[in-house]
Symmetry: C2
Subunit: 136 residues, 2 copies
DNA sequence: GTAGATGCAAAGTATTTGCGACAAG
DNA sequence: CTTGTCGCAAATACTTTGCATCTAC
């Protein structure tokens, strides 16, 4: 549902243009983590007049508004995903590029402790695991 | 000591040119995590004829040889550091950019478990904590 | 001697931006 | 209305590469 994103925009005072609605819709219907190119392709199918500059501007705006999360996984282009309540991290298959989301409260707790031990308040973190499928 | 890096080069069959020796020396004497620009500046002071293309080529080569580690922290340019036995992760001060290294075996263990739970062998990971100094 | 390394400048990628036209609130 | 957005193309930032020359082994 892109309703969530549209609501968030209103809450944040972000102007809702047609282009942004389309981008919001595509992002909220995406179950993967598209990069800007992929997003632009999907968006173009709905409205081919939307320029890639607008896509770049919009994902940046959405990221700053806490609507999307940006990830710089290994190997180039930034990838985006919708940001919902439940925080999660990523396990990336280095052979296929497949991305698996996971949550581990224990690790989250330990991270906070590490930061505190060094005199810091943890405001953000990035945890990415890179693995190969076990040939069980 | 750049000796370590030079030894590693020989071990890996990496040809030891003057340029590479200078870059190795600078990297091993750096206690921070320089990006390519910073590295190039430091290298230039020792031998101003070394080109930035060579710096790029060399850090890439060193990374592939397991001599340097590359980090894509938030906010742009890739940063490098010498890779020694002891693995560590990073806590980054989002105000000052200061980078603190830390080790936490518990987290390492949990990461392995998470990967296994999803049927993967963990081959690499990235853990970055972003924090602000506590005003104790 | 030869495969591989270097310097230079040109070419790529990914992303950002200036600007006049246009649209949301 | 007025402020912010869009599309376009040009600009930027970072990194890679083709080629002729040079150097480590």
């Amino acid at each position: 549902m892109s309703l969530t994103i549209e609501k968030k925009c209103k809450a944040k005072g972000v102007k809702l243009t047609d282009q942004r609605k389309v981008i919001a819709k595509v992002m909220s219907e995406s179950t993967d983590h598209p990069n800007v190119d992929e997003l632009y392709n999907r968006v173009s199918k709905i409205d081919s007049k939307i320029s890639i500059a607008t896509v770049y501007r919009t994902v940046k705006l959405f990221e700053e508004s806490g609507i999307l999360a940006k990830h710089d996984f290994k190997g180039g282009k930034a990838r985006y995903e919708e940001l919902n309540e439940g925080h999660h991290d990523h396990l990336i298959d280095i052979k296929t590029g497949e991305i698996i989301e996971f949550v581990n409260e224990e690790i989250e707790e330990l991270q906070k402790k590490v930061a505190e031990k060094h005199g810091y308040d943890l405001v953000d973190h990035k945890l990415e695991l890179y693995g190969v499928k076990k040939k069980s």
